[in-house]
């Protein structure tokens, strides 16, 4: 079937289409430039938003870790204020052990987010402080509030939280520091004898 549209007839005759005749790129330049800047701005904003979101998630994970440690210490305080034969102490003991067991997976979550945390020693010491000695012994008597056991558990918990908090901050600072820097305008000229006579720090 023959196409008899007017446009086709123009092309066949070798004449430019009427629209192409009036196309002026210069007229579109401001619009193209504006679209470019909008696109770039969107990329920058999106990148910063994503970075903020990751930072916020990592802080949330660190908060969750701290809350878990605080819960454990609070439960352990209740536990040791009760006698070992008290029925409530049995359920508290199970909760304490279960929550302590959740600490390592929480560290794994932080590690998955790029936080370099080495808390295995601190978790071990915390578990020993809370569940060592006469933990779950039926013959254990209730401890007085002045017992040094409470201070010991609190201190071990704080140590653990500090390690995690510091690791989070350290990683975030390292990430900021490792951002690609602008190239210097002029390459620094190496000093000829600047390194002579200087030994590496490990050999000094």
């Amino acid at each position: 079937m023959l196409n008899t549209s007017p446009q086709l007839s123009i092309e066949i005759n070798g004449a430019p289409p009427p629209a192409a005749k009036s196309l002026d790129l210069a007229a579109f330049a401001p619009a193209i430039l504006a679209a470019f800047f909008v696109g770039m701005g969107w990329i920058v904003v999106e990148r910063y938003a994503r970075r903020r979101e990751i930072r916020s998630d990592l802080r949330d994970a660190a908060d969750l870790f701290e809350d878990t440690v605080d819960d454990i210490v609070a439960m352990a305080c209740k536990f040791y204020l009760l006698a070992g034969a008290d029925p409530h102490s049995v359920s508290l003991a199970t909760s304490i052990k279960s929550k302590i067991q959740a600490l390592s997976p929480l560290i794994d979550v932080l590690s998955g987010g790029g936080i370099r945390v080495d808390a295995r020693d601190a978790i071990r010491l915390f578990r020993q402080a809370v569940t060592g000695g006469s933990f779950e012994s039926i013959t254990r008597g209730a401890l007085p509030e002045s017992s040094p056991m409470f201070t010991k558990m609190e201190a071990a918990g704080q140590d653990l939280v500090q390690i995690v908090r510091l690791s989070v901050f350290q990683t975030l600072i390292d990430r900021k520091a490792s951002k690609p820097k602008r190239r210097p305008l002029r390459r620094p000229v190496p000093q000829k004898d600047a390194s002579e006579g200087v030994k590496p720090a490990s050999l000094v």
Partner: protein, 109 residues
């Protein structure tokens, strides 16, 4: 010709309990003392390596671990070196591994 013995596998959650707790038998039916006497020592007596799977429980108390593993060292039936060579600990919690190794090696230092 000597034949290598198959390792004995102890899955604590499946073969003992999901709720290990207490140091002595008087503290509960799933105590460290009972685990040592009924699971760990008989497995070590077989002479092969002993693989202990620690995952799957509701958590361990240090009192349980100390009595179970430190108790084997204190019994004097196995040297700490022998225990280190023959025990294989499987756990996803590195702090748990460290703690058990500490109880096993404490007799050396």
């Amino acid at each position: 010709m000597s034949r290598t013995l198959e390792p004995t596998v102890i899955d604590v959650a499946a073969d003992f309990t999901r709720f290990p707790g207490g140091r002595y038998k008087s503290d509960g039916i799933f105590s460290g003392e009972r685990f040592r006497e009924e699971c760990l020592v008989p497995a070590l007596d077989r002479g092969a390596k002993v693989v202990i799977k620690l995952d799957g429980t509701m958590g361990y108390g240090s009192s349980f671990l100390e009595e179970a593993f430190g108790g084997v060292v204190r019994s004097g039936r196995f040297t700490p070196q022998e225990l280190q060579d023959r025990l294989v600990l499987e756990t996803s919690d590195p702090s748990l591994y460290d703690e058990i190794v500490e109880y096993l090696t404490s007799a050396i230092h």
